[in-house]
């Protein structure tokens, strides 16, 4: 699938979800797993927009890229915002906090990680890369 490049703004969130939905359909994911993937991608995209760009006083794009193999659908969100590893919000001392009291963005990260089979983060060449993997065979 061709990637999409959208501005890092809240208005782009629905475009990113549409892209994830299209990729999920191409990969043959069922309704439930499609929704979960959409939610995961949306939550991280929201953090990119709010915390990576807006609150840091930066502007930039988000690139969404889907790759489908025999085994899995992988969606990557790439941005040039403040370097941020979402997994920092899932450290043990934060896991024990009631969800509503987690650091800003922590609830979204929890939902993102819980709703895909694998979540990875990389920081390469000044780009944040958030990687979502959903297995194509029923898990």
């Amino acid at each position: 699938m061709k990637p999409i490049i959208v501005p890092g703004t809240l208005a782009s969130l629905s475009l990113i979800r549409d892209y994830a939905r299209t990729a999920a359909a191409e990969a043959g994911l069922d309704k439930k797993r499609t929704y979960r993937l959409e939610l995961a991608v949306d939550e991280i995209a929201t953090n990119i927009v709010n915390h990576g760009y807006q609150e840091a006083g930066l502007t930039g794009d988000v690139v969404a890229r889907a790759t489908i193999t025999v085994c899995a659908l992988t969606i990557t969100l790439e941005d040039t915002a403040v370097p941020f590893d979402p997994r920092r919000l899932t450290r043990p001392e934060q896991i024990d906090l009631p969800l509503a009291e987690r650091p800003i963005g922590g609830l979204g990260v929890f939902l993102a990680i819980e709703n895909v089979d694998e979540f990875r983060y990389e920081h390469v060449d000044d780009h944040n890369r958030n990687i979502f993997v959903v297995n194509r065979t029923a898990a």
Binding site: S14, E38, E43, A100, L107, L111
Partner: protein, 112 residues
């Protein structure tokens, strides 16, 4: 699908009907509607969600906001939530903060 909501307060019950996708871009309008409704100090809040097809954590946070704004004594009813949205509410434990019903039970809800 874009988000829309209608709200009305009748007999002390603030009723919101949520339609479409409640993401971070849309949560602001929901929050504003909650603030406006809170000004009349309703005794109960009802959220009709059968046409809400998507809810992100921003929507959940607005539920928390509604709870705080309306006061601890004001019950929040969530009606007809779709399965995927219900899963998110339960996964995050927010089902303990609201009363979830499949359909609008006037006898229970309007007995304030």
């Amino acid at each position: 699908m874009a988000f829309s909501l209608t709200s009305e307060t009748v007999n002390g019950i603030a009723k919101f009907t949520l339609v479409g996708e409640l993401d971070a871009a849309a949560a602001g309008s929901f929050r504003e509607a909650v603030e406006q409704a809170a000004a009349s100090r309703p005794k109960r809040v009802v959220l009709i969600m059968d046409a809400l097809t998507y809810m992100a954590s921003a929507g959940l946070r607005t539920l928390v906001f509604a709870k705080q704004k309306m006061g601890a004594n004001v019950d929040i009813y969530v009606i007809g939530v779709q399965e995927a949205v219900r899963e998110t509410i339960e996964m995050t434990g927010f089902n303990h903060s609201v009363i979830m019903l499949d359909t609008y039970d006037a006898a229970e809800i309007e007995n304030v």
